[in-house]
Every structure is written in structure tokens, then in C-alpha cells.
């Protein structure tokens, strides 16, 4: 196969950004414009690059790297998400000026790894891409200057993330060896033709389960979720905004590709369904008791990881499309929530629920955006969260996992309590003493409004975007 660089322009462009940031990080920063000034423009241009390479298709690097509708869809989402997180992080109060080029370089590197992940169709490639995206995050998470208060939370979060990540990836690699030994190939397209029943290939089933563990770690699915609330809490608001959103997208795309192996009724599919049910229930129940906003969102993301499983286990093209769409919905909703959190905590502190008190008065636009985000996360119409959830359960109904669908809808009822808590504090409580002063600049309000509008508009007319998701799903499971 002829290698055509045009097909991987988004990746190359991202690599270029990384190199530029790398060279800037070498200097002392006195003769270059600060990274947060120029990077947003170039990251925004990255979205354009992804749109240009939208229709590309091909199989590169010895069949290990596939450019298709799914990968381009996800790459676009990643570059858009990267753009938003860069904008979000450009005013990060808890990061020293001289560390910024490094910080952004690692973020870009992680996004780059995720882009590769979205195209990887071979297990080793997947593994490598996963490591690229994880390793850079290991470095980013402790980068939080909490003002010399002796708060070691950020370092603790970093260590937790590394240790947990190391174990998970080691497990994945171990599982990979089983798969290779049993099925004699590491290409997903080949693997899809093999048997995956317990009777037929017990070793491969064990291997795949372990390999999936690596993805579950990224996705923060129960029981690989323990890092999630701690890391969100320890990392700065802006970093958490990245960790909570983009890596999930990467994990979902791999799971969607691997889901072509999982026919309903297989033991491993049922295992996925059970983990999904456990994850959503556990995440929601734990979130009920949280006071720290980021911990709350951490547990909420554990629950959302469970929701995505509903689409994956249905074993239909529609199910996969719904999972991809939901991942996108999750991305947008969380970007919105973290945008608001970062703007409200203008001094870089960790927000408690009580810090939101009276937000409607101090920052009406941000309060409204937070409300939209919270209701979207619950899955109330007319938001993208509702549409995503609705597509998930419609695609999964009558494919053997109806109990999972019921679990999902019951969980929405549990979840309403704590999401409503955000709205309740923002709208019905009066502000106490020592509440942070929210950032009411045009920049902050515009970002919040645009993201909120995106959540609402995609909730009302999701047809166009969903077309792309379906296109992606149909290519995987014709």
C-alpha cells in the first residue's frame, strides 16, 4: 500500500504543534510570545485541518492504521476538544508562567496519542497510542501550584494516576500475550473472524478481558475507576477538564472497534454489561455524597462510562453509533461543566458545592451554563444528553440486555439528585462569605454560552451529527 501523508494530516499537524511547543520550552521564554497566546489560534486551525481531511480513507502502516469515518469523526472531536481545553487552560491561575510551554506540550502530546488511538486497528498499535496519551498526562497532573499552602494533593493525584495506569497497562499487555497466543493475530479485522466463546477459546477470552481492562482504566469504568475522583480532585481544574473529557473519547473509540468482536450472548459481552451496570450504579450512588465539585463530576464520569457500555453490548451498528454519539455528548457536556468550574474558581481553588451559592447573582451567564450542563448530564431534554441516552437505549432494546437498559433509566433517576444539587446551590442559595469571584469577562461568557448553545442545539437537531456517527458505525458492522 502506498503511503500518502495527506491521509494523516491531522496527526502531522498536531505533531508540528508539539514540536513548536517543545522548542519553545527549551528557551527561557523571554524572546517568544507566551504559549497561551499563540496556541489557541493554532489549535483552532487544527479543527479546520481535521475538517479538510474529513473524507479520507485508507489502511496504512501494514494494515495497523485505519483512516475511516469513525477515526475522522473522533479526530475532529478530539481537535475541537483540544481547542476548548487549551482555551480553558490559557488562563490557568495555578500554573507558573515558565511551565506553560511544557504544560501545553504534554496536553498536545496526549491529544496526539488519542488521535493515533482513534485510527489504530492493531492491538500493539493501540497499546502504544494508549501509552503516548497516558504518559504525557502523568506529567501534567502534578503541575499545579497551589500557592505554597503545603497541599500535596496534586502530587498524590499524579502518583495515583501513574500507579494505577501502570498496573492497568501491564494487565493489558499481559492480556495481549494471551490473545496472541490463542488467536495468532493482533489485527482486529482478523480477530473478528475468530471464535470468542468461552468453550471455543478460553485463553483468548481471558486475554481480551484483561486487554479491555486497559481501556476501562482510561474510561474509568468500575472496577478500574478508583483513580478518577482522586485525580480530578488533585489536579487543577483546567487539567481535570482535559483528563475528564478527551481520554474517554479515545477509550470509547477503541472499545467501539473491539466491540465488533463482541456478539450479544457471549460471556465477555455479558461481563461488559455487568460492569456497565455496576459502574453506573456505583458511580451515581457515590456521587450522591460528594461535596467537592470535581469529585462529584469524577463519580459522574464513572456512571457515564457505564452508560456507554449499553451501546457497546448491543452488537449492532446502531449501538456502536449510539455509543460514539454518546461519547461526543459526554465530551461536550463535560467541557461545558469544566469550563464553568474553571471560570468560577478564578483563583484556582477546588470548588465545593457551597462555593456555587448565589452564582446566579454573581455570574448569571455562568450559572445558566452550569444549569444547562447539569441538566444535560442528567439526560433531560432538550439537551444532547437526552438525545445521547435516548439513542443508547433505543439501540440496545431487545438485543438481549433489556435489564441493562432498565438499570440505565433507573440510574438517571438516582443521578438527578446530585446534578440538581448544582442548580440548587447556584440558584436557590444565597452566597455566603469567602466565595470565589467568578470570571465575568467576555471571554468566559462567550465560551460558556457557545458550549451551552452546542449542548442545546445538538439536543434539538441531532440528525446531522448522528448521520456521521451512523456512517462510522455502519463501516464497522455492515
Amino acid at each position: 500500500m502506498v503511503f500518502n501523508p495527506i491521509q494523516i494530516v491531522p496527526e502531522l499537524y498536531q505533531l508540528l504543534l508539539i514540536l513548536a511547543l517543545f522548542f519553545q520550552s527549551l528557551g527561557d521564554g523571554s524572546d517568544t510570545p507566551p504559549a497561551e497566546r499563540w496556541l489557541p489560534f493554532f489549535a483552532g486551525f487544527g479543527i479546520f485541518v481535521c475538517i479538510v481531511s474529513w473524507g479520507a480513507e485508507g489502511l496504512l502502516f501494514g494494515g495497523a492504521y485505519k483512516i475511516d469515518a469513525l477515526s475522522q469523526f473522533i479526530k475532529l472531536a478530539i481537535s475541537a476538544g483540544f481547542y476548548v481545553t487549551v482555551l480553558n487552560a490559557s488562563r490557568q491561575p495555578s500554573l507558573e508562567e515558565r511551565k506553560r510551554p511544557d504544560y501545553f506540550m504534554f496536553l498536545a502530546l496526549s491529544a496526539w496519542g488519542l488521535m493515533i488511538l482513534s485510527s489504530a486497528v492493531e492491538l500493539i498499535t493501540i497499546y502504544l497510542a494508549l501509552e503516548i496519551s497516558s504518559y504525557s498526562l502523568y506529567a501534567v497532573i502534578p503541575l499545579r501550584n497551589t500557592g505554597g499552602l503545603g497541599d500535596k494533593r496534586a502530587a498524590e493525584a499524579g502518583i495515583k494516576y501513574i500507579l494505577f495506569g501502570a498496573v492497568a497497562t501491564a494487565l493489558a499487555l499481559y492480556g495481549f500475550s494471551y490473545i496472541l497466543a490463542s488467536q495468532h493475530t493482533s489485527y482486529i479485522s482478523q480477530l473478528a473472524l475468530r471464535t470468542w466463546t468461552w468453550e471455543g477459546a478460553p485463553m483468548a477470552v481471558v486475554g481480551l478481558s484483561l486487554f479491555l481492562g486497559g481501556m476501562f482504566y482510561k474510561l474509568a469504568l468500575f472496577p478500574f475507576h478508583f483513580w478518577c475522583p482522586d485525580v480530578y480532585q488533585g489536579a487543577s481544574n483546567e487539567t481535570a477538564g482535559f483528563v475528564a473529557t478527551l481520554p474517554k473519547l479515545g477509550a470509547v473509540v477503541v472499545l467501539v472497534r473491539l466491540a465488533t468482536l463482541l456478539k450479544p450472548g457471549l460471556e465477555i459481552t455479558t461481563l461488559l454489561a455487568v460492569l456497565g451496570a455496576a459502574s453506573m450504579t456505583y458511580g451515581n450512588l457515590c456521587a450522591l455524597a460528594q461535596k467537592d465539585l470535581k469529585r462529584l463530576l469524577g463519580f459522574s464520569s464513572v456512571a457515564h462510562a457505564g452508560y456507554i457500555m449499553v451501546g457497546l453490548v448491543s452488537g449492532t451498528a446502531m449501538g456502536l453509533s449510539a455509543a460514539v454519539f454518546y461519547a461526543l455528548a459526554y465530551l461536550v457536556m463535560n467541557l461545558l461543566c469544566f469550563w464553568v468550574i474553571s471560570r468560577v474558581a478564578s483563583d484556582g481553588r477546588n470548588l465545593q458545592l457551597d462555593d456555587l451559592n448565589g452564582l446566579y447573582k454573581r455570574a448569571p451567564a455562568l450559572a445558566f451554563a452550569l444549569g444547562v450542563g447539569a441538566f444535560a448530564l442528567v439526560g433531560l431534554p432538550p439537551t444532547i444528553g437526552f438525545m445521547g441516552k435516548f439513542f443508547l437505549i433505543t439501540s440496545a432494546w431487545d438485543h438481549g440486555y433489556n435489564w441493562l437498559v432498565i438499570t440505565l433509566v433507573v440510574n438517571s433517576a438516582i443521578a438527578i439528585y446530585y446534578y440538581l444539587g448544582l442548580v440548587r446551590h447556584a440558584y436557590t442559595h444565597e452566597a455566603g462569605e469567602d466565595v470565589p469571584t467568578p470570571d465575568n469577562s467576555a471571554f468566559s461568557i462567550c465560551g460558556a454560552t457557545l458550549l451551552a448553545a452546542l449542548v442545546l442545539v445538538l439536543g434539538m437537531v441531532p440528525g446531522r451529527v448522528f448521520d456521521f456517527a451512523i456512517m462510522a458505525g455502519k463501516q464497522l458492522l455492515p
Binding site: L380, N402, S412, A413, L420, Y427, T428
Partner: protein
């Protein structure tokens, strides 16, 4: 028929646009006047609805693709049943604006935003013929209602609003599952098409339960009613009015629109249970109302009783019963709405909702007490008022069904008279009077109390027009129900032995 604009869509979109326009207004007084103007304009926009033809067809149909990949449609239309509810919703809005003119003094803009948003969503609920579209409006309406209670409510507003939200949302999550099940089994989200589809009894059994839970919480029926008194008592007047007049109707509307046509066999199967619960609601609501010291709580519990009449009428499955249910829905909207406005009125004077703080008004506030007396009589179903028509029809239907059911209603109606007289007598002549310095009704209050009064008498004395309006749809509903119900039973009668023979029940819908 052409009016130059899509009527139902306009009725939904216009309040939203008007709500958006609120953000450009600064002064609270202008906000009130603006919303008042918008609500009257909304009524003017609804004038084409008066060309409604008195038959059972879907009218004012609007249909467009929404998400074609999933077969979602933007499908609006009204028949006799929903027509009435849409009208009620539209008529309530200006009254709500008027009755909160002085009652609401903080965050006026946001308050009216919620009112307008609410109206749009409510019209949507009653006009939607796509199941998902219905659900979207059904849920969307929770948010403004939550805010109405949580921001402008009384002392325990947070508790009440949260309880309201949790209850109703928990109920409707299973409704969503049922909607999806209908789509997968019936192949469409279109409600009129689903009404033709023969579902198996097993399927109907589970979907009926899922839907009935959602609707029973909304109505609310007896064991699920506890959110209602809390919400009513804490909500501001306008919130209570919308809650009583429109929101509760959504539950009973759901029974009429979905349970009876879509799951006829299961409705028949569960009818004894539903009738029993309805009677329990009537008796329980009445008995509890008898012991209340808080006027608003009393009216809230009376709502539970009145809505019991509605659900009872629905599950009698005869013409009179369903007609009675519809009349009762309309009447309860008018009467209870008016009673809540009156409570708001007197609360502005006494700053208390306790009966003991509002006694002896007869001498000092004759106009107020006159209106109160009228609505209290209408509430207990006094002949000549609209309450009588609805209750009478339900009674007739109940006795047609069985004497026992009818016999249970008699104490229910008596209780209604008892609690209404108790509170009214105390308010009129109780001693000591607390009203010596209070002014009687002003012009604005006269205005918003006269309008419902006109309807009380109009429906009470000449209900013919409304019969003409609803009868074709009710006949069709009951006729379809009878016909589909017998077909279903035949199908299940044949299917069951086969299923028993195969040991495993095939294609069980919900329970996997």
C-alpha cells in the same frame, strides 16, 4: 384550512421568543406588562383554533422529519381531548401573570421567563403526537416548574421542589423505557400509528405498568401523592395555579392518550386496581383535607380527591365516565386554579395561610368572600356550577359500571362538602376577625377572579358546547378501546396455550 402560519407550532414557539425578549427589559413593572401582553397575544394567536371541527379527526396537523435516522418526527395535532387542555393552558397564563403582579417582587424577569417557558412546554405536551416529542416536552416542563418552586417558594421550598423533581423524574424514566419498547415492537414513534398496532398481552402488561407509574405520580394517585401538598404549599400562587390547572392534567391526559389506546387489554386487566386506587385517593384526599389547618394544604389535598374522580372516570371505560373525567379535568383546572389565586390574594393581606389567621372575612371583604363561596361551592359540586357537571357524569358512569363503585363515591362527595364548608364558614364568620383593616379586592383581583367565575357558570349551566367538542373524540376512544380490547383478548387466549406448551414465554417485552 390555512391561516398563514402553523398554529400549534406558533403557540409553542411564541412564548419561547417572548421569554427570550424578557432579557432586554430592565424594569420589573415593564416585565409584568410585557408578559401580560405576550400572554394575550398568545391567546390571539390561538384564535384559529376556534375553527376546530367537531369530529374525532386529528386537526391542525403539522408533520415534519426531526431525526429521520431514528424515525423521530415533529408531529403535532389536537383532537377533542387535547384541544380542551391546550385551551386551558393558554387561558391560565394571563391569570398567572395577573395573580403574581404584586405577589412576586424578586427576580421578576426570571419568574416570567419560567412562566412563558412552562406554557410552551405544556402546549407541546398536549399537542405532540410523536412519542419522543411528547417526552421531550413532558420533561422540559419539569425545569421551569422546579425553579418556580425552588426560587420563589415558601420557607421549605428547597425540600418541596426537590421532592417534586425527584418524584416526577423517577416516574418518567420508566416511561422512557416504555417508549423505546413501543418503538422496537411497534416499529414507530407515531402515536396514531401505534394505536393501531396489536401488542401482545405480556407486552401490554409491562408497558402499562411503566406508563401508569409515570402518570400516577403526576396525577397524583393515592400512594404517590406526597409530593403534591409539599409542592403546592411552598409554590408561589402562580406556580400552584399552573401546577393544579395544567400539570396534574398531564397525568390523566397520559392515561387517556396512551394507556387506554395503546394497552387496552392491560388497562382492562388493571382496571379494578386503578379504580380501587382512585377511590382510595378520593376518600383519603377528602379525609386528610378535613383535618388541615393550612388553607393551601387543604386545597392541595382536595386536589388529590378531585383527581381521583378523574382517574376513576377514565378507568370505567364508558362514555359517561370518560366524559366526566374530561369535564372534571377542565373544572378542576378552573376551580382549583381560582382557589389558589384566592389564597394568594388573602396571603398578600395576612401573610399567613393558616385558617386561624384568616377568619371573619365576610364582613370586611365581601367581594373576596363572595368569590370564595362560589368556588368552594363549585369545588364540592353544587348544582349550577361546573363542578356538578363533572361529578355527575362520573357518578353516572360509576353506577353504570357497578353499584358498589358508585356507593363508594357517595362518601367521597360528602367529604368534599364537609371540608369545603368547614374552611369557608370559618373564613367567612370565624371569630376573632383578623381582617378589620384589610382592603377588599382591587380591580386587578376582580379581573382575574371574574374570568374563571364566568366559566364556572358557563360550564355549569350550559355544558352543551363542551359536549359537542369532546364527544366525537371520546366516542372514538371508547369505541376503539372496546374493539381493540376484545381483539386483544382473543389473541392472548390463543397465544397462551402455545406459550405454555413451549414452556418459555417468547419475546417477553420488558423482563428480558
Amino acid at each position: 384550512m390555512e391561516f398563514g402560519y402553523p398554529v400549534l407550532t406558533t403557540l409553542i414557539v411564541f412564548p419561547l421568543l417572548a421569554a427570550a425578549g424578557l432579557f432586554f427589559i430592565k424594569s420589573p413593572q415593564v416585565t409584568r406588562a410585557y408578559t401580560m401582553g405576550a400572554s394575550i397575544l398568545e391567546l390571539i394567536l390561538a384564535i384559529p383554533l376556534f375553527t376546530f371541527k367537531h369530529n374525532a379527526e386529528w386537526q391542525f396537523v403539522e408533520r415534519a422529519h426531526w431525526v429521520p435516522q431514528w424515525g423521530l418526527e415533529y408531529h403535532l395535532a389536537v383532537d377533542g381531548i387535547s384541544y380542551l387542555m391546550v385551551m386551558l393552558t393558554l387561558a391560565i397564563l394571563p391569570l398567572c401573570v395577573m395573580c403574581s403582579w404584586t405577589y412576586i417582587s424578586k427576580r421578576v424577569k426570571e419568574f416570567h421567563f419560567c412562566l412563558l417557558f412552562m406554557t410552551a412546554a405544556c402546549v407541546g405536551v398536549f399537542a405532540a403526537l410523536d412519542f419522543v416529542l411528547f417526552y421531550v416536552f413532558w420533561e422540559a416542563m419539569l425545569i421551569p416548574m422546579y425553579l418556580l418552586i425552588a426560587v420563589w417558594g415558601g420557607d421549605q421550598r428547597r425540600y418541596a421542589s426537590l421532592k417534586f423533581f425527584l418524584y416526577t423524574l423517577a416516574g418518567s424514566t420508566l416511561l422512557l423505557a416504555a417508549i423505546v419498547a413501543f418503538r422496537i415492537t411497534g416499529g414507530t414513534f407515531s402515536i396514531p400509528e401505534l394505536m393501531q398496532f396489536p401488542f401482545t398481552f405480556q407486552f401490554q402488561f409491562w408497558t402499562f405498568l411503566a406508563m401508569a407509574l409515570a402518570f400516577a405520580i403526576k396525577v397524583p394517585m393515592f400512594p404517590f401523592h406526597t409530593w403534591l401538598p409539599a409542592a403546592h404549599v411552598q409554590a408561589p400562587s402562580a406556580g400552584s395555579v399552573i401546577l393544579a390547572a395544567v400539570l396534574l392534567k398531564m397525568g390523566t391526559y397520559g392515561f387517556l392518550r396512551f394507556c387506554l389506546p395503546l394497552t387496552p387489554a392491560a388497562s382492562e386487566y388493571f382496571a379494578p386496581l386503578m379504580i380501587a386506587i382512585s377511590i382510595a385517593s378520593i376518600l383519603y384526599g377528602g379525609a386528610i383535607a378535613l383535618g388541615q389547618e393550612d388553607i393551601k394544604k387543604l386545597v392541595a389535598y382536595s386536589s388529590v380527591g378531585h383527581m381521583g374522580f378523574v382517574t376513576l372516570g377514565i378507568f370505567l371505560f364508558n362514555q359517561r365516565g370518560v366524559e366526566g373525567a374530561l369535564f372534571q379535568m377542565l373544572n378542576h383546572g378552573i376551580i382549583t386554579g381560582a382557589l389558589f389565586m384566592m389564597i394568594g390574594c388573602v396571603y398578600e393581606r395576612s401573610h399567613s395561610r393558616q385558617i386561624v389567621d384568616n377568619m371573619g372575612l365576610g364582613k370586611y371583604l365581601p367581594a373576596f368572600m363572595g368569590f370564595w363561596g362560589l368556588y368552594a361551592l363549585a369545588s364540592l359540586g353544587f348544582p349550577g356550577t361546573n363542578g356538578f357537571v363533572g361529578e355527575m357524569l362520573v357518578f353516572t358512569g360509576a353506577f353504570q359500571k357497578s353499584y358498589i363503585v358508585g356507593a363508594f363515591l357517595v362518601p367521597g362527595a360528602l367529604l368534599g362538602a364537609a371540608y369545603m364548608f368547614r374552611v369557608s364558614l370559618k373564613m367567612a364568620w370565624g371569630q376573632p376577625s383578623s381582617a378589620k383593616t384589610w382592603p377588599d379586592l382591587n380591580t386587578r383581583e376582580w379581573a382575574y377572579l371574574l374570568i374563571p367565575a364566568a366559566f364556572v357558570f358557563y360550564i355549569g349551566l350550559a355544558p352543551g358546547f363542551f359536549f359537542k367538542l369532546i364527544d366525537p373524540s371520546v366516542e372514538k376512544l371508547v369505541g376503539d378501546f372496546k374493539q381493540r380490547n376484545t381483539v386483544e383478548q382473543k389473541v392472548t387466549a390463543e397465544a397462551v396455550p402455545a406459550a405454555v406448551a413451549a414452556v418459555v414465554v417468547p419475546a417477553e417485552p420488558v423482563n428480558n
